[in-house]
Amino acid sequence: MGGFENSLNALVLLANFVLVPALAYGSQLALGAVGVTLIFGILRFANFAHGDTMAFGTMVTIFCTWALQSAGISAGPLPTALLALPVGILATIALVLLTDRFVFRFYRKRRSPPVIYIVASVGVMFMLNGLVRLLIGPDDRKFTDGERFVISAREFKQSTGLAEGLSIQTTQALTIGVAILAVALLFWFLQKTRTGKSMRAFSDNEDLALLCGIDPDRVVRVAWILAAVLAVLAGVLYGLDKSFKPFIYFNLLLPFFAAAILGGIGQPVGAIVGGYIVAFTEVTATYAYKQLAVYLLPSGWVPDGLLQFLSTDYKFAISFIILVLVLLIRPTGIFRGRVL
């Protein structure tokens, strides 16, 4: 009995501190990385402005959320930000189409090499960076409201009688749900619709696609729209789950690229798999396994240390390590994407 209860406790412990947080974080990374990979597939450059596009969309959503909150409108148990989401998405679509029209189209017409695009996107990144800080400020903002928990740790403990609690926050459940839905819709779009197919054709072989009469402007436009929608979704979900801070969104660029490159850049499936791998590696490498050892090992065997592979301060370094290792060992990534 004691042994069974111990293993149950160990299971709940892992679910609470590793599985649930990593799934939620992985979903956010996957959404962001798919956006990066789509732009790379169609426009053939690494869009450094993606993190700040995300911050911009989230900022608009937050403003709209505040307006809704002050008008007394809420989404019941769900966060009000969900109601504000369409506005954020529309504003971001407008923004990326405008930057494409006034920045990237210029280089496309000249058929500039990818490195020029990258530098241009760094410029766009700094502009958006400044714009967001100007409008909402550099501070931490929490805009989560509604019911906080689907399952709270305390309730879980009381109803199961276990020593360990499992907490699933509404925002975590929401993140995973929305990510699955968004990814499913994206694949349906890419595989089944005419526009989706023409995008894939364009990504595979641009010249051949042009010969077949595919309108390149249209493909580029749709790619930007998709990237904007995914960016805002990722940004708002991340902000709801954790908190919104422009600097942190800018920093997310690194795990995004790590995930996209790990999965094979230009490959949407790869970006999703990569997102989850990066998230799980970050969480499992920085978790302290001592309590787990307490449950699973005979009492004399439990070590004194925390059994932590890396301090949580080094979480960010893990994306770097993954990025470097993939580029060294298998530059095309898991799903054989392009070489960056």
């Binding site: 991340y238 309590q291 307490v294």
Partner: protein, 404 residues
């Protein structure tokens, strides 16, 4: 046409500039003394600093209005942002105050890391006195300050002992400790761990946390793995400390929280979803006669004097002006030479609201022993000896349980 417009604008600018500089010169002749107020108006303690600056300016205004300082000199306080965490930004701000604004002394800085940086890089080399109301790192006791650095807040070496005693008295014998990764957090944590273990307690784990992360669930996971029921958080109320407590509540990981002075803020209670009742903490402060007088004084000027480090800020500002008066001029050197003398016995005791009285005594050649709002008594290295309030959260407010 265009050229003429440009010329016109240029002329207006030149005249405006000239007028500005002339008035600036004029003010100097009117014995206008500039004092710097360097606090983290942005950054992890930005909710605390406006109240602190207001309190310091209360003292400046009191002295200016009295007309008793150096035969009627007026004080102009100049605020600058220390950011609390960015040493380079704080140093630049102090540099500006000292070299271009030519301040006579500096009230600040606030957080220990930036205070050390400003003292070492700018204030001490330029011979400008700094009186910090809130830098509490033990490391500041031993910096080579050449007699220019003072503080009205006591060292955390003392706070560590007090917090350890509070926990021991409540029957808590095992804790996990997390501190913000800077001079303040590290010094405080070291002092606390040493004192707690000396008192027979055990510390299961001590980890640092970084400021400005979105999510602290991973940090809490590591802390919870220690198996302790009590978590000691030595961080900031608007920063990582709050994130740690929020994540602990979300995971239901700890039964009891204990916090240091950087976490004592209503913003902590308001900013967290969940119940903090029973959270305990320590904050420099006392039930001295001066504390009540300071609250009344602040209230009479429409300010709220009840908040972290507000009384210390008032005292820091008051000390520098008394030192000027004692030396008979507003030179930087004068402030440094006389500050200890006005802060400690012998002399007439001076309390908040009585600065004019103190200035008159000094003008007549007498001596003062400034008590202020916090019972100021500087040790031989120029820092407050310190008494602490033990606080507990009840009904969503910090309430004082006892004075230690």
């Amino acid at each position: 046409m265009q050229n003429r417009n440009l010329l016109l604008i240029l002329a207006v600018l030149i005249i405006a500039g000239a007028v500005y500089f002339m008035t600036a010169e004029q003010q100097k002749k009117d014995q206008d003394i500039k004092m710097g107020v360097i606090l983290g108006f942005t950054g992890p303690i930005e909710s605390l600093t406006p109240g602190m600056a207001d309190s310091a300016e209360l003292a400046f205004a009191e002295v200016s209005e009295s007309g008793a300082l150096l035969g009627g000199a007026k004080i102009t306080p100049l605020r600058a942002d220390s950011t609390c965490v960015d040493a380079a930004a704080a140093t630049a701000a102090a540099e500006r105050l000292i070299t271009s604004d030519n301040v006579a002394g500096i009230m600040g800085a606030d957080c220990s890391g930036v205070t050390t940086a400003v003292a070492n890089n700018v204030a001490v080399p330029n011979g400008v006195v700094m009186v910090s109301p809130s830098a509490t790192s033990p490391a500041l006791t031993t910096i080579d300050d050449k007699g220019y650095f003072f503080r009205t807040a006591p060292s955390d070496a003392r706070q560590g002992e007090v917090l350890a005693a509070v926990l021991k008295d409540r029957g808590i014998s095992e804790v996990a400790v997390t501190y913000t990764n800077n001079d303040y957090g590290k010094g405080f944590a070291d002092a606390f761990v040493a004192a707690f273990e000396a008192a027979g307690g055990s510390v299961s784990v001590t980890t640092s946390h970084e400021e400005g992360k979105g999510d602290y669930a991973a940090e809490v996971g590591a802390l919870a793995a220690s198996g302790s029921d009590t978590l000691v958080v030595l961080g900031y109320s608007d920063g990582g400390g709050r994130g740690i407590i929020q994540a602990s509540l979300d995971a239901d990981s700890f039964q009891q929280f204990a916090v240091g002075d950087g976490m004592i803020s209503q913003a902590l209670i308001d900013g967290i979803s969940g119940d903090l009742t029973g959270l305990i903490g320590t904050l420099p402060g006392s039930d001295a006669a001066g504390a009540k007088m300071f609250l009344d004084l602040a209230a009479s000027k429409g300010k709220d004097g009840d908040g972290p480090y507000r009384a210390e800020s008032y005292d820091a500002a008051a000390l520098m002006m008394l030192a000027m008066q004692a030396g008979g001029n507003a030179e930087r050197e004068t402030v440094a030479k006389n500050l200890m003398a006005v802060a400690n016995a012998p002399g007439t005791e001076i309390f908040p609201g009585e600065l004019a009285k103190g200035l008159k005594i000094l003008a007549d050649g007498g001596q003062v022993n400034y008590q202020g709002a916090t019972n100021v008594e500087l040790t031989d290295v120029g820092e407050a000896a310190g008494s602490y309030k033990e606080l507990e959260v009840k009904n969503n407010k910090f309430e004082t349980v006892s004075i230690r």
